[in-house]
């Protein structure tokens, strides 16, 4: 009976006002140990004020093979950008 420690993804907020960002991953037996290890592995030099740990298997990721249908449709929707609209130079503050 050999069971390996599962993999966890570590997210760190580097300071208040900023979002948590993915920092890396590590192995731990449970969430508590993942938190303790994340502190030692990823915040030895004041890199963070808050940590999230998420077991990797709970993350659903998009597949790069589907990137065409996922992301390309946005490319031809230029009207979603302010520069699409022609305005006379006299119009200020817009």
């Amino acid at each position: 009976m050999k069971k390996n420690w599962p993999l966890w993804e570590i997210f760190v907020r580097s300071k208040n006002g900023l979002e948590h960002r993915h920092f890396g991953s590590l192995h731990a037996a449970d969430a508590e140990m993942a938190m303790e290890n994340a502190r030692d592995v990823y915040t030895r030099r004041n890199e963070g004020v808050s940590i999230w740990v998420v077991e990797s298997k709970n993350i659903t990721a998009s597949n790069p093979a589907d990137n065409g249908e996922m992301f390309e449709p946005a490319q031809d929707k230029v009207y979603r950008h302010p520069t699409f609209y022609d305005l006379p130079d006299e119009v200020k503050h817009m």
Partner: protein, 318 residues
């Protein structure tokens, strides 16, 4: 997939790298790219982990609390660097256990330099100054390598590494400004670590089998010989500053090239160490394997505890 389709994908892949795009773990990649990266990243991770051993030897005997705290922090960083790199490697579809197994069975290599003994305190200075100095030269270009997880790990590693070299140089400087005996100790450490540090940057370009492909994939930005020359050119003036003599009678500044010419490296010694016959190969591997085997019951107990807790939580909720 037909051969033609694979070839097409490979062309698209190489073009992406040529455009400086990063490759992420779930992207399609040629099998050779995956294998080469597993080999290099794991070798790098193993070097960090085995690299803790020669320095761990001196933690309890550091000459002051200041030195001890710094050395502990450095060794802890090396554990961290190993962990960043193992994680990056695992994104390529190999498990941590397989990686350890490759290290412990001798299938995977680690840096030859860690097979030399650390017999005096000055060795802590020489390792930080020379070994970490050579490592930085090797690692900085990797911050831009094509495989995203490796590049990100290297950015973190490089940020932390510069303290390692500075603390080593400070140890050397203190010894060199001390008594005659202390300065002699520093010179002795330089004598023993100089050549292995040059070897650590890898075989000469003519002998290096992986260079061309690795250049294309940005796993390597400069050849071993270029890196070695860079290391020598930046280190010789530092040795002068310490008042130490580099143990190479052929070392001489070349006005024409603006670089130092240096003597013949004993490559037989290098290959002996790589093949497992260095002074400490066996000791290092024994220490690693024992740590892994003796820790097995702890890892199993932690897992059993986590599972029990989880079951209890589920039972409570239902």
């Amino acid at each position: 997939m037909s051969e033609k389709e694979v070839k097409n994908l490979e062309e698209i892949f190489e073009a992406r790298i040529a455009r400086d795009e990063k490759i992420e773990p779930k992207d399609w990649m040629p099998e050779k790219y995956r294998k080469t990266h597993i080999r290099q990243i794991s070798q790098h991770a193993h070097s960090e982990i085995v690299g803790m051993l020669p320095e761990g030897n001196w933690i309890t005997r550091a000459p002051s609390l200041r030195r001890k705290a710094a050395l502990l922090a450095k060794v802890q960083d090396e554990a961290g660097h190993g962990l960043y790199l193992y994680s990056a490697c695992e994104t390529l579809g190999i498990s941590r256990d397989e990686l350890y197994e490759q290290l412990h069975s001798g299938k995977a290599k680690y840096s030859s330099i860690f097979n030399y003994p650390t017999i005096t305190w000055a060795d802590m200075g020489a390792i930080g100054w020379l070994v970490d100095g050579a490592a930085i030269i090797n690692q900085v270009p990797l911050c831009n390598t094509s495989f995203g997880p490796y590049a990100r790990a290297m950015v973190r590693v490089c940020k932390e590494e510069s303290f390692h070299q500075r603390q080593g140089f400070e140890i050397m400087l203190t010894l060199c400004r001390g008594s005659e005996e202390q300065k002699a100790m520093a010179q002795d450490a330089l004598n023993r670590w100089w050549w292995p540090s040059l070897m650590m940057l890898g075989p000469t370009d003519a002998e290096s089998i992986h260079t061309e492909q690795s250049m294309k994939w940005k796993l390597k930005r400069k050849s071993n010989d270029e890196l070695r020359q860079q290391f020598i050119d930046q280190t010789v003036p530092q040795a002068d500053l310490l008042g130490l003599t580099i143990p190479d009678p052929d070392l001489k500044f070349n006005e024409e090239t603006g670089s130092y010419d240096f003597g013949e490296i004993d490559w037989d010694e290098f290959w002996q160490v790589v093949k497992g016959h260095g002074p400490c190969n066996k000791e290092r591997m024994d220490a690693r394997v024992n740590a892994w085997n003796n820790g097995e019951w702890v890892r199993d107990a932690a897992m059993a505890h986590a599972e029990k807790n989880e079951k209890r939580k589920v039972a409570k909720a239902s």
